[in-house]
């Protein structure tokens, strides 16, 4: 049987050259993300914004979205977002948080159940009060910050300082670009998104660590090899594994996107994007970053003048 090879053996590809495109590209996306985050912000789900989310399904299989919208707006609970999804007459309704503290939220659910209960089945009802949503924002932020700190410590113990700095830059890059995915696409940002971001942090680091483990090994073997060449060699050596793992992970996430159902699709889409970003950043951001940080501590690697200028 002829086996499939996704990446040729003994490749000698000049990956470091990519930094001329990848650095500006990532910089532009990061800035765009920051600008959009400041102007528009994230499309927070009820976990973080508070409010009430309902998913109802027409018992007849055919939902009348227009009528639902009209009726729900007539409740006087503020702006209602009504959306149809799926194929079997499923509709989601999102009500904003109600004035009057925790107890006020319950009246929304009661009113909706009384009104739509006869024609629609209530498949999901979630109400998050103002206090809980505030805490979820807090714990979500703490989680992301903590994970970066924990990772920093791990890298500090496990790797040389230069490699640790480069990988943390890569991880931060991936977090920023993932948040960019949310602001640019307007994807709903909720507690599951935090789970996705943390998983991406893990995966991002995993990718960098695999390359840098090899870099470290090669550094000991080829004591005088210039950084650029050494990094290219590390990536070429590990590329067949990178491609394989990215492929298997992407395949299983694709299965989730296609068959996992509406509730899990959002998470799977973000993760799928994350796998692409993490693979890209390990090769095109963290590794070339080492050319500038210097590979061997004080004995920094000299970059030819012309190339450094071109990279900027």
């Amino acid at each position: 049987m002829r086996l499939v090879r996704l990446w040729p053996e003994n490749s000698h590809f000049d990956f470091m050259r990519f930094r001329r495109f990848s650095f500006p590209l990532s910089a532009v996306i990061s800035i765009l993300t920051a600008v959009m985050l400041l102007t528009g912000g994230l499309n927070f789900g009820i976990d973080f914004r508070g409010g009430t989310l309902m998913e109802i399904q027409a018992k007849s299989g055919q939902a009348n979205v227009g009528q639902i919208r009209q009726t729900a707006e007539g409740f006087g609970f503020g702006d209602v977002e009504v959306q149809e999804f799926g194929t079997a007459g499923e509709v989601s309704l999102r009500f904003p948080i109600q004035e009057g503290g925790e107890a006020a939220q319950a009246s929304v659910v009661q009113k909706a159940r009384d009104t739509f209960g006869t024609d629609y089945e209530f498949r999901r009802v979630e109400t998050v009060g103002p206090r809980v949503s505030g805490e979820l924002v807090q714990s979500g932020t703490i989680g992301v910050v903590l994970s970066v700190i924990a990772v920093l410590f791990y890298l500090w113990f496990r790797f040389e300082r230069e490699l640790a700095v480069a990988s943390i830059i890569g991880t931060l890059h991936d977090i920023v670009l993932t948040i960019g995915f949310f602001v640019i696409t307007g994807h709903e940002f909720n507690m599951t998104s935090i789970a996705a971001i943390l998983t991406i942090v893990g995966y991002s680091l995993n990718e960098t660590v695999v390359v840098f483990d090899r870099t470290r090994e090669l550094m000991r073997r080829y004591k005088t090899m210039p950084a650029e060449e050494l990094l290219n060699l590390s990536i070429n050596h590990t590329m067949s594994r990178t491609v394989m793992t990215a492929a298997t992970t992407a395949l299983s996430l694709l299965a989730l996107v296609l068959f996992g159902g509406q509730a899990i699709q959002g998470f799977a889409q973000v993760m799928l994007y994350g796998v692409v970003i993490c693979t890209y950043s390990a090769i095109c951001i963290s590794s070339p970053m080492l050319i500038y940080i210097g590979l061997r501590g004080s004995e920094s690697v000299k970059v030819p003048e012309g190339r450094a200028a071109a990279a900027e």
Partner: protein
């Protein structure tokens, strides 16, 4: 060289077989599981039979998740009222009078006693009110529940201390859990889970509950019942309380409490034999019966006030002394209302109002659909990865695939034994680990290929591949574990389910992708003695 001792093989296989057997109960439904347990011969010790199973999260089996918070302000209000009553009683007992009465201040009360001699009599009694906190037996130092401050001009302030307040909230949560359990149990709901969460919250999870309206109605009432007297004209010590079904009209009610909910031994819904109205029959304990009998004898012809949660629900006229210790509450109730009222009275009062701060309900239909979708995604992901590994690595891919299947089986086994909760994000975690679990195999195989290409013999290439890749495998799994552990401590409910799967997946991958694969390759080598790598 590439040797795998017999004892090591036995140990590896044994661990895997046990792990997979542990997953067996989770593949059955409740009835099958019971039948399976009954079918096991009695001479087999029970600890040998896998009986624990994975618990499905509410998002998969459908049900209601309600997070309640003890209303600390309400609690403090009640506390201050009690404190004021105590202070009034002590003033009366010691025959000391306070200038300008008893003032309510932030978290406490204030009195003014200018005479030093009076204060000397009063203060020791007041100090008795302050209980020490902390645990004296364990030698934990704690402050007092109440701080008492005296100024030279005779102003005495009693306030609940910070410690006293937190202590009180903690106790209130404990009491609330008990009361909630009694209330939910008496409605016949199956398998509710009631847990403390954080300092001041109670999480109630009821599987299978579609509309938590009744549950919320049951938990929304404090259930504090008092028997008092409607005040007569000119009375001073009165509360103005709203009267039920009187359009918000308020009536004066004496502050003195004749008997209260805690004095009841039983309460049952019933119908009035004459009017056929739904009523609640109740029975007092001895103390309650005595006090109630005395009060009704002394106040013939006056109106009683039955007060529930500061609302007068009924005000019957006392026709004759009630000394038998039982009575009834009538009012304009529906059948459902008297049912709930009887439950409230039987289970006792909540120490403070509970507020619903979060509610998540999933209908059984959505749960079923989610399980279906999750299974589908898992199978498809499995098939994708298995085919992909096979066409890339051939026989070695097959080894990796066997390891992958064992890996997923072991996750289920571990989750069963821990009785962990499988949620929808948990399923996503399983699908994701299917993709990432083969990473270790890929690392090893690519390394083997590289070593052999560099001129090593097949045996030493395989050996070196495993050894060199291992450091990287440890690194890459540790980094994943860091993120997963943080997610576990941070997340709640469904998201935590994802973290559990992910952590277990990282643990089992080392056993399956490294040890099991290595064993299979070693055995294969000894049987086939290949000259070239099969990939």
């Amino acid at each position: 060289m590439l040797r795998f001792s017999r004892s090591k093989i036995i140990a590896t296989v044994a661990i895997i077989v046990i792990g997979l057997l542990l997953a067996v109960p989770s593949t059955m439904n409740r009835e099958q599981r019971q039948a399976f347990l009954n079918a096991v011969p009695s001479w087999v010790p029970s600890w040998l039979v896998p009986s624990r199973a994975i618990v499905l999260g509410l998002d998969l089996q459908g049900g209601s998740h309600v997070l309640l918070e003890v209303d600390a302000q309400d609690l403090m209000r009640t506390q201050v009222t009690t404190l004021r009553d105590d202070v009034r009683r002590i003033l009366r007992d010691t025959r000391v009078s306070s200038q300008n009465g008893i003032q309510t201040v932030q978290r406490g009360v204030q009195i003014r006693v200018p005479e030093a001699a009076d204060r000397d009599r009063l203060l020791p009694r007041l100090r008795e009110l302050a209980q020490p906190t902390g645990n004296a037996i364990l030698g934990q130092a704690g402050g007092n529940t109440i701080d008492i401050n005296t100024t030279p001009d005779g102003v005495i302030t009693l306030t609940y201390s910070e410690i006293g307040t937190t202590e009180r909230v903690r106790r209130a949560v404990d009491q609330s859990i008990e009361v909630i359990r009694r209330r939910i149990d008496s409605t016949g709901t199956t398998e509710p889970s009631i847990q403390r969460q954080g300092a001041d919250r109670v999480l109630v999870q009821v599987p299978g509950l579609q509309d938590p309206q009744q549950l919320k109605a049951l938990l929304g009432e404090t259930g504090n019942l008092e028997f008092r007297l409607l005040a007569q004209a000119g009375a001073t010590d009165v509360d103005m309380l709203p009267m039920q079904d009187a359009g918000g009209q308020r009536v004066p009610v004496e502050r003195r409490i004749i008997a209260e909910g805690g004095d009841l031994t039983d309460a049952q819904p019933a119908f009035d034999t004459q009017t056929n109205q739904p009523i609640v029959n109740f029975r007092f304990n001895i103390r309650g019966a005595q006090r109630f009998g005395q009060a009704t004898t002394e106040n013939l012809g006056r109106q009683l006030a039955i007060v529930l949660d500061n609302q007068v629900i009924s005000a019957p006229t006392i026709q004759s002394p009630i000394t038998g210790g039982s009575g009834q509450i009538s009012g304009s109730f529906t059948v459902e209302q008297v049912n709930n009222l009887a439950v409230l009275l039987r289970s006792g009062a909540l120490p403070a109002k509970l507020t619903i701060v979060e509610e998540r309900t999933v209908g059984p239909g959505l749960g079923r659909d989610s399980i279906q979708a999750g299974k589908m995604a898992t199978y498809v992901a499995g098939i994708f990865v298995i085919i992909f590994m096979f066409v890339t690595y051939g026989l070695f891919g097959l080894f990796a695939n066997i390891a992958l299947l064992v890996h997923v089986g072991l996750i289920f086994g571990l989750m069963s034994v821990l009785e962990a909760t499988l949620t929808l994000p948990g399923i996503a975690g399983i699908v994701l680990t299917i993709g990432t679990a083969v990473d270790s195999n890929v690392l090893i195989y690519e390394r083997i290929r590289e070593e052999v290409r560099a001129g090593r013999s097949i045996v030493s290439g395989i050996q070196a591949g495993f050894d060199r890749a291992f450091a990287t495998i440890v690194d890459s799994n540790s980094t994943m574990a860091i993120a997963a552990v943080i997610l576990f401590f941070l997340g709640s409910g469904p998201v935590r389910g994802f973290a559990v799967v992910f952590i277990l997946g990282i643990l089992t991958t080392v056993l399956t992708a490294v040890t099991l694969t290595r064993m299979m390759i070693a055995l294969w080598y000894h049987w086939m003695r290949p000259k070239v790598l099969p990939f």
